[in-house]
């Protein structure tokens, strides 16, 4: 999946990936996609929950060898 921005959260645990995502998404232009890389498995549930609550769009995840990449899109306009 393609992303406009990447946020590396490897080695960080709940709630830091979510706190950092919330901060980072503010820097994105509407319609842009953020990729968050994490090794905290909680992110698989937490990111869709966060996106739903904050009005961002959760696009899905890719997982390889303990690295979880989750994608969220800032709503256009």
């Amino acid at each position: 999946m393609k992303a406009d921005h990447t946020l590396d959260c490897i080695g960080l645990y709940c709630p830091m990936p979510i706190v950092k995502t919330a901060r980072k998404i503010k820097e994105l232009a509407p319609g842009e996609v953020l990729k968050v890389i994490s090794d905290d498995t909680g992110i698989k549930s937490d990111m869709p929950a966060w996106a739903k609550k904050t009005g961002n769009e959760y696009l899905g995840l890719e997982e390889d060898e303990g690295e979880i990449k989750v994608y969220v899109k800032k709503p256009a306009g």
Partner: protein, 159 residues
């Protein structure tokens, strides 16, 4: 974006419970919620300056403030403290896994606009004044303030 309200009563003054409270406060703020933390009873120790007893106090209040020094960096685990050894191990584990300390969690909460309210009744009981608390405290108030916030709250917790 929603602006749901969330309140947390921080009744406990232990490291583990304070971390749980700040963890939820910081996540709530990151989810766009308006978060207020209400510190009461032993929770006062979390937002106290780390200094020892000072000012006008009765003998009992002096003793209480010496035994329960407070300050975010001096909190102990609620279990397995083992005269501080357990707390020391927990703190080093937290550092190893890059988890924010209570002090760092307080800074993060303030950065995210979390409001801190300190219970004035507990202050009186423990002989504490406004100057005994860190500057991050926004308000000194009572139960009515809390309940008025909590009645609008979607998430209200007691820790």
């Amino acid at each position: 974006m929603s602006e749901d309200k969330m309140t947390i009563i921080v009744f406990s003054g232990e490291l583990d419970k304070a971390l749980a409270a700040f963890n939820l406060a910081n996540t709530g703020a990151s989810m766009g919620m308006e978060v207020t933390m209400f510190f009461t009873f032993w929770g006062l120790g979390v937002v106290k300056k780390g200094s020892l007893a000072r000012g006008k106090k009765s003998f009992m209040q002096w003793m209480m403030n010496i035994m329960k020094r407070g300050g975010a960096d001096h909190l102990k685990l609620s279990q397995m403290n083992m005269l501080g050894a357990g707390t020391g191990v927990m703190k080093s584990l937290m550092k190893k896994y890059r988890m924010p300390s209570v002090s760092e969690s307080i800074a993060l909460a303030k950065e995210q606009g979390v409001r801190f309210v300190v219970c004035t009744t507990s202050m009186t009981l423990m002989g504490l004044e406004e100057d005994d608390f860190i500057d991050d405290v926004d308000e000194f108030a009572g139960a009515a303030t809390y309940l008025s916030l909590a009645s609008d709250g979607k998430v209200n917790l007691f820790i």
